[in-house]
Symmetry: C2
Subunit: 282 residues, 2 copies
């Protein structure tokens, strides 16, 4: 039996029993789930009372309509994969109408420069699309924690900036890249690679690892030149960008500072399929 003598103590107790603190973990995805997504799910399950996973191919973040059409859609298989990890997941697989309510357009955001680098430069409008859908999903799910893979490191930083700007009470958690044994970063786009392409795509991570070693003694521009030359020799690769940037601002590294954390970013076409990867240089 509990006895309270002061209303403030009673009120606190009644609040704690009336509205118990429930944490909701959220893993937004575009489906075509792979081990990288499942790792995010497992983290969310571990740290939250409930986990919501959304599966939604967001049209406004595709700058290329062919890419949007070709993006793999595998809902039934995705649901099987989720079930194999946990029956406790709450799946949200909305239609475009349910999210955009007839107006499939992006809101315009000021991400304070983060959106002008790399993916933002090469995929115009991409991060406005990401911001629009993430904001919408956060409003719907109201998560305590939301999980994003570090493969899309720039997106992770953009989402952190988004909740800061909008003052949304969501904790953004970045999860390290899940790689195959041969080093290829898990990506839904890997499904579009042939077996031979998948094999040669392992070169991307090997180059990143080499770049990391070189960055110990060489300048960012020397490392970049070496990476570009390495891809020039490969006929089935077309390098879109390789950049060494400050992790916080995503601005290119001109002169190394020991007070900053750096990261290498790469986008490369393996024939028709565009892949991205990243590695911490610290």
């Amino acid at each position: 039996m509990l006895i309270f003598y002061r209303q403030i103590d009673l009120k606190d107790h009644l609040k704690s029993i009336s509205a118990p603190k429930i944490s909701i973990g959220f893993v937004p995805t575009m489906g075509a789930l792979h081990q990288g997504h499942l790792t995010l799910m497992q983290q969310s399950l571990k740290h939250n009372d409930f986990t919501v996973m959304s599966i939604f191919v967001n049209p406004t973040q595709f700058n290329n309509s062919e890419d949007l059409v070709k993006y793999p859609r595998t809902l039934d298989r995705d649901i099987e994969k989720i079930k194999s990890v946990s029956e406790q997941i709450i799946v949200y697989a909305p239609s475009v109408e349910d999210i955009y309510n007839g107006k499939t357009v992006s809101q315009s955001f000021d991400f304070q420069g983060l959106e002008h680098q790399m993916e933002g430069r090469h995929r115009p409008g991409h991060f406005d699309g990401v911001g629009t859908v993430v904001k919408r999903l956060f409003e719907i799910v109201n998560p305590t924690n939301a999980y994003f893979g570090e493969k899309d490191f720039q997106q992770l930083q953009i989402v952190k900036k988004l909740v800061e700007i909008l003052k949304m009470p969501v904790n953004i958690v970045g999860i390290p890249i899940f790689r195959t044994a041969s080093g290829l970063a898990m990506s839904s786009r890997n499904e579009r690679l042939s077996t031979a392409e998948r094999e040669s795509a392992t070169m991307i991570y090997k180059i990143l690892c080499q770049a990391k070693i070189q960055f110990g003694t060489k300048s960012a521009s020397q490392v970049s030149d070496w990476v570009k030359k390495s891809f020039d020799r490969q006929s089935d690769f077309r390098l879109e960008y390789f950049e060494i940037a400050d992790e916080a601002t995503l601005l290119p590294c001109i002169r190394k500072s020991k007070f900053k954390k750096y990261r290498a970013f790469i986008a490369v076409f393996v024939n028709e399929v565009r892949l991205i990867d990243t590695i911490s240089l610290n």
Copy 2:
């Protein structure tokens, strides 16, 4: 695993898991607990997830300062009694300061006439005091259901009116009078009766039962006259009032209507101790 395709369905589900509906039952008392109070507690325990019982001798509802001083205060014994029924009760035993915060005065209410009858007429300011403390306690506890004994039937109607006027989302539940085997209505004031007075006080309920029978064939004023004469013959009783009134409005019954429910109300002094009782006449 749950799958949602529409945000409205997902939101509903998340709401249900984030803020589960918890019902709080509330039994406000002035302590000196008896079986009547314990019956209220048991009703609350049965129908709510949590039960709060307050023990607070409310100064603003006493029109007579001697009555306030003499009102029995038995917190330790009350707590033992509560424990014997359930360890699950949340007890709230505030100080006058905690409730009134330095201003021990009543708010003035318009209970649409209910406050001008019987107890209201004989105890000036009583129902403003009741309204003030019940409003305050409801604000603190925020109960789903609040339990009141029908012995204080006028108070029960006043409290129902209070939540109606203030639009407080509290369901007011009236619980029938608990009587000893000899018919005496349980009351904290019974503690102030001697054994002999307690024995003679059983007359009150006997008179009420007789009145009920007489009301089948006689008019309200005929029954009232008979009750008054019955008490005139008793030297240790002083009748304050006996009234037959409409249950809903508490207005005296002038001419019986078969569309109304009537109830007899009595207040009587047994030597120094004022007792009240009531009986349904239908």
